[in-house]
Amino acid sequence: MARKPNPQRETPSNVSKEELLQYYRDMLLIRRFEEKAGQLYGMGLIGGFCHLYIGQEAVVVGLEACAKDGDKRITSYRDHGHMLACGMEARGVMAELTGREGGYSKGKGGSMHMFSREKHFYGGHGIVAAQVPLGAGLAFADKYLGNDNVTFTYFGDGAANQGQVYETYNMAELWDLPIVFVIENNQYAMGTSVKRSTKSTSLFGRGEAFGIPGEQVDGMDVLAVKAAGEKAVAHCRAGKGPYILEVMTYRYRGHSMSDPAKYRTREEVQKMRDERDPIENIRDLLVTGSHATEDELKAIDREIKEIVNDSAEFAKESPEPALDELWTDIYAAELPQGSAEENA
C-alpha cells in the first residue's frame, strides 16, 4: 500500500546506517515471527492464549538498543517480541509456542511463560502487573550486588491501573533502584480503552507522586524510543533511581487470538498501519536517506523469512516433551547457574 512519505523526517546525524539496518531487521523479525505464530495458531499448532506484538515492535527494539550486557528485562504475557529482541533464538520461542521439547521452557511454559537466564530475560508473566514488583526485585539484586546493571520492566496501560505498580514505584524510588519502567501504552487494556479506564490519562505522570521522573515517547518511531531510552538508562546507571517511559504504541491485532476486536473500528487500525507503521517508517528513512537500496532491503526480507520459516519447521518437528517431564523442575536440587551467589 502506498504510504505518504513524511517530508520532515530526516536521518538523525548520530545514527549510523548499520544501526538503522539493525533496527529494521530486528523489527521485521518480530513482525514476521508474529504473523507466522498467528498462522500456526489458526492451524491448531499453538494452543491456549497467544498475544501478538504486531505494531509495537519499535518499543522493544528501541529500548534493547540502549541495553548493555548484564542488563535485565521482564515483561507481561505479550512477550514474543521482547525475547527475539534480546537475542533469544526464534526456534526456541516458536517451539515453546507449539509446546515442544525444543522450546525455551521445554514446552512447560507456553506463550506467556518463557525465560532465558543466559539473555537475562526473566519472563513472560501471565498475571497483569505481577512483573512490575518482580522487575524491581531484579533491580534490587543488582543494587545489592553493587553493579551498574539496569532492569527494563515492561507493562501495559492496563497493568498501570493495578495497585502493586504503585507499591513498587514507592519502594523503587525510596531505595533508588536502577529500573526503567516501560509503560507500553497500546491504548487498549484488552477491550477497554485508556479513556474508559482512568481520568488521569497521563500514565507516566503518575510517577510524580513518588518523585519518579518520566516522559511520554512516540512508540511508533524506533529512534525516538532509543533516544528516550538512553536518557532513562543513564539516569538509572548514575544511581539516581527509577525512570518511567510511557511509550505510545498500537497493537494491530486483537488482545489475544480470540479477540473479535469490536471495541475499535477497522479504520482506526488501518490508519495507524498506513500512516505510523514503525517498520515502514524506518524503511522510508533507509531508502530516502540512500542508506539502502530496495534490493538490499529485499535481501533482508528474504533472510528474515527464512529464519521464521525455519523456526516454524523446527517448532513442528520438535517432539512433544517426554512424559517424565511432567515430574521435573518442580523443585530445584541446587541453585541454577548464574546466580548471585557466585558474584557476591
Binding site: 511463560h113 507499591e167 480470540s258 469490536k262 551467589e341
Partner: protein
C-alpha cells in the same frame, strides 16, 4: 506455489465454526493482512486475515456453511498465472497435524504417579537430629529464630531480611532484634506497608539469585501477597523448564494468637501445603525452629515458614552446635507409645503432648508425631506408626475442610487400610471465623480435652 487456506482455530477451545461470509471473491488479489472472511465461533464473529499473498484461486467452502472443522481447507490461494484447477490436481502439502491432547494414561508415565497406582511409601529416616551427648542450651523459639537468621546471614552474604518493622523497630515480635545493628540497613531492610509489593520484590531478587528472607508481620497479611507466593515464586522453576530457581523464605507468625479476631487468627498450613513448588515448614520446638529455619534459608526453593506467636516465648532445649540444621521431610517422634498415633504440627503439638500426658495417666500410651514439614511430608513415619498402633488421630488448629488431617486420613486409608482398627479422627479448629469473645474463642480452637476424647473414641475406651 499454491497454498491452501485452512479453517482457522480462533479461540483456545474452538473445534469448528461457521464460515459466515467471504470478503474476497475468486480471482481477487489477496495481500497479507487483508480480511478474507468472517468466521463465527461459539463466542464471537471474527475477522480472518490472510497470511500469504496471492490470488483467490478457488473457494472450497461456501459462505453460510456451518460446522466447518478447524483445519478444513476452505480456499486455495494461487500465484499469478496459476490455475486453481491445476492446484486441485496436485495435492497441496498436508499440514502437520496438531498434537493430540486427548491421550489416555500412557505406559511411559512414572510408576506410582497415576491416580490409581499404589504409591510406595518411603522408609522413614529415624536417625537422630544431633549426636547423643550433645551439649544443650535453653532458649525461646524467638531466640532460636533470631540465631538461625544471624548465623545464616553471617555464612552467606546473599542472605538478607526484609519486611515491615524488621529493622529500626527491632521486629514487631522482636524476632529480628539486634539484626540491624549487626548487619546494617543494606541487609535488614525496612519496607513500607506494601505486602504484594515487597513480596514481589523479594521474589524478583530471589530469581536474580539473592536469598531473601521476607517477614510478614503475620501470615494473615500475606493474603495480600499470595499471588507472588504462588504464581511468581512457586511456579516459575517449572514454567521456565528448570532455569529460574527462587531461593526465598517467607516467614512470620501464623494461626491464632489471642483475642485478635477473625482477620488476624487464621492457620494457613493447608493452603500452602496444597501447592507444588513450595516447601512448607511449621516448627513447634525451639530446636526445630532453629534447625529448620537454617535449612529453609539454604534451600534453593521457595519455603513457607509458619511460626506461632504463642510459641515465640516458650523455652526448649536446643543443641549447642556451631551449625545445627534439621532436614525437611523428616518427622520427629516426640513421644513413643503403642496404643494410638497422634499426628500434629506447630502449636497443635502443644495440645497433642498435653493430651498424651493425660492419656498416660489413664493407661493409654500415645505415640505423638511432630510432622515439622508439611511439604515434603514424612508419610513413612506416619504409616510405620499406624502399623504399630492401628489407630490414628490428627491434631491441627486450622479449619476442618481441606485440612492436613484430611489428606493424611486419605493417605493412610489408601496405604494402610488393613492396619486400621478404627476410623481416623481429625481434630481441627471449628468451622467458624475466629470469634473475639474469650469464651467463644476458646471453643473455636482445638483443645487437649478434645484430643483426649478423640483418642478414647478410636481406642474404644
Amino acid at each position: 506455489m499454491a497454498t491452501e487456506i485452512l479453517m482457522p482455530a480462533l479461540s483456545p477451545t474452538m473445534e469448528e465454526g461457521t464460515l459466515a461470509k467471504w470478503l474476497k471473491k475468486e480471482g481477487d488479489e489477496v495481500k497479507s493482512g487483508d480480511i478474507i472472511a468472517e468466521i463465527e465461533t461459539d463466542k464471537a464473529t471474527m475477522e480472518f486475515e490472510a497470511v500469504d499473498e496471492g490470488i483467490m484461486g478457488k473457494i472450497l467452502v461456501a459462505e453460510g456453511t456451518q460446522g466447518v472443522a478447524v483445519n478444513t481447507p476452505i480456499a486455495v490461494l494461487v500465484e499469478e498465472g496459476e490455475s486453481a484447477d491445476d492446484v486441485q490436481a496436485e495435492k497441496v502439502p498436508a499440514q502437520v497435524a496438531a498434537p493430540s491432547t486427548k491421550e489416555g494414561p500412557d505406559d511411559k508415565g512414572q510408576p506410582g504417579e497415576s491416580a490409581v497406582e499404589q504409591v510406595k511409601t518411603p522408609e522413614p529416616d529415624r536417625s537422630p537430629d544431633y549426636p547423643e551427648g550433645t551439649k544443650m542450651k535453653t532458649m525461646t523459639v524467638r531466640e532460636a529464630l533470631r540465631e538461625a537468621m544471624a548465623e545464616e546471614m553471617e555464612r552467606d552474604p546473599t542472605v538478607f531480611l526484609m519486611g515491615e518493622e524488621v529493622g529500626e523497630y527491632q521486629g514487631a515480635y522482636k524476632i529480628s532484634q539486634g539484626l540491624l545493628d549487626k548487619f546494617g540497613p543494606r541487609r535488614v531492610v525496612d519496607t513500607p506497608i506494601s505486602e504484594i509489593g515487597f513480596a514481589g520484590i523479594g521474589t524478583g531478587a530471589a530469581l536474580a539469585g539473592l536469598r531473601p528472607i521476607v517477614e510478614f508481620m503475620t501470615f494473615n497479611f500475606a493474603m495480600q501477597a499470595i499471588d507472588h507466593i504462588i504464581n511468581s515464586a512457586a511456579k516459575t522453576l517449572y514454567m521456565s523448564g528448570g532455569q529460574m530457581g527462587c531461593p526465598i523464605v517467607f516467614r512470620g507468625p501464623n494461626g491464632a494468637a489471642a483475642r485478635v479476631g477473625a482477620q488476624h487468627s487464621q492457620d494457613y498450613s493447608a493452603w500452602y501445603a496444597a501447592i507444588p513448588g513450595l516447601k512448607v515448614v511449621i516448627p513447634y520446638s525451639a530446636a526445630d525452629a532453629k534447625g529448620l529455619l537454617k535449612q529453609a534459608i539454604r534451600d534453593p526453593n521457595p519455603v513457607i515458614f509458619l511460626e506461632n506467636e504463642i510459641l515465640y516465648g516458650r523455652s526448649f532445649e536446643v543443641p549447642d552446635l556451631p551449625d545445627f540444621t534439621v532436614p525437611f521431610g523428616k518427622a520427629r517422634i516426640a513421644r513413643q507409645g503403642g496404643d494410638v498415633t497422634i499426628v500434629s504440627f506447630g502449636i497443635g503439638m502443644a495440645h497433642a503432648l498435653e493430651a498424651a500426658d493425660k492419656l498416660a495417666a489413664e493407661g493409654i500410651e500415645a505415640e505423638v508425631i511432630d510432622l515439622r514439614t508439611l511439604r515434603p511430608l514424612d508419610y513413612g513415619t506416619i504409616i510405620e506408626s499406624v502399623k504399630k498402633t492401628n489407630r490414628l488421630v490428627t491434631v491441627e488448629e486450622g479449619f476442618p475442610v481441606g485440612a492436613i488431617g484430611n489428606h493424611i486420613s486419605a493417605y493412610v486409608m489408601e496405604n494402610a487400610f488393613d492396619y486400621l482398627d478404627a476410623p481416623v479422627i481429625n481434630c481441627t479448629g471449628k468451622d467458624v471465623p475466629m470469634p473475639y469473645a474469650a469464651n467463644l474463642e476458646k471453643h473455636a480452637l482445638i483443645t487437649p480435652a478434645e484430643v483426649v476424647e478423640a483418642v478414647k473414641k478410636v481406642t474404644y475406651k
